[in-house]
């Protein structure tokens, strides 16, 4: 039965315009949708195809394309399969629709994304501060936020390089790759 449902899902989604589907495995499906069509696709998945569980919403900062990529992971207990719906929204102004009316747990993820990336979700019940209550800088997970520069400006450094570590390094141990080289 589960296989049947998945095949049926492929057909239905394939009929919609502007939807690219890619089946990764028998229980993983990647769907690329236009931002305008995403709520409709999710409604279809939830209402008609038993994808009732919203696992997560993730956000990727595609700074080179000047876009945010939002990924909605929905899971079906009946088909035992996960659908990841990818969509892109412009980085500026970074506003998108909330899917709180479809999936209630979305409020949690949307608030988190708003805090970390600054994406505003219209219709979400609360866009207030969430985890970073002491933070009033720019959203820290954006690619244009330079964490290292911020740390250098805000905090003092303390060197910890005791004799035993120097002895270890002489024998070839210790931290062999400095941070500058590790980044290359």
């Amino acid at each position: 039965m589960t296989q049947e449902l998945n095949v049926w899902l492929d057909k239905i989604l394939g009929d919609i315009e502007n939807v690219k589907i890619e089946r990764k495995r028998s229980n993983r499906l990647r769907v690329d949708v236009d931002a305008r069509a995403l709520p409709a696709v999710l409604e279809l998945l939830q209402g008609r195809a038993s994808y009732v569980h919203l696992s997560a919403i993730s956000c990727v900062d595609r700074i080179d394309d000047d876009e945010f990529e939002l990924v909605y992971h929905v899971w079906s207990y009946e088909a035992r399969s996960l659908v990841s719906a990818h969509t892109r929204i412009p980085r500026d102004p970074g506003v998108y629709l909330s899917i709180y009316d479809l999936y209630v747990p979305a409020a949690f993820f949307e608030r988190d994304i708003h805090e970390m990336f600054g994406v505003y979700f219209e219709g979400s019940p609360d866009m207030g501060k969430f985890i970073l209550t002491e933070w009033d800088g720019p959203p820290p997970m954006r690619k244009d936020f330079d964490s290292e520069k911020f740390v250098n400006e805000t905090f003092n450094r303390e060197q910890y390089h005791p004799q035993w570590l120097k002895d270890l390094e002489k024998e070839g141990g210790g931290i062999t790759t400095p941070a500058e080289d590790a980044r290359k």
Partner: protein, 253 residues
Amino acid sequence: MSKNKTLTKKDQMQQDKAQDGQQMLVDFTRPRTNPMANVFDGLVRFCQSRSMFMLHYCTGCGAIELPPAMTSRFDMERLGIQPMVTPRQADILLITGYVSVKTLKRIILTYEQMAAPKYVIGICSCTVNGGMYWQSYATAKVLREYLPVDIYIAGCMPRPEAIIEGLQVLMDDIKTGRAENWKRYFQNYDYYLGNQQKLFGDHWQTPTDIISEARHYDLITENTLGKHTALLEKHQAPLQALEMTLQQNRERV
């Protein structure tokens, strides 16, 4: 301890007397004339070092090394060290792992509630200099800028043997009277408060009145008061007791 309980009242009396130009209520600085005093001091210090209650503020991954250190495998209690549930009854504050800016606030509140003498132990590299979170925007890097730390146990993470050894060093320090870092918080309060204000903003205020406590312990130096404490005094609201109400105002569940 009763010290903390009677603090406000005693402080009030002390301030009144100081204003009158009379002698302070308790004079800690007077020289010890009794030859037996040193004997008693040694005995008290020995007892202190053998019966310590530990409050572990498990902020990071280092906390995972504490259960084996406390329970039967390494058995911290044979050294007289036991976990304690409240800061007011604890002697040691154990900070195990990275300290985010948000947790640092809570650590300072906890530390200030503890009764003196109090000792702070920073476990893991993260408390020394941020460790592997050295470029994280949310982690406070050097713990000793915000609190006087007695012992650092570096490592990522230190094994229970290292923790026990660090605690033994602290015990020796207490026995010989060297572990007096808690006094530094009162003596250099302006420095610590300045660093705290830099992170939390100028409106930062804790419920504990450190300046009055410093006056109580007679630990006021020229570094206790400064421009940062002046900033604090500008907006420092006096503490008020919480209003006691019966069940009436509460919503029925």
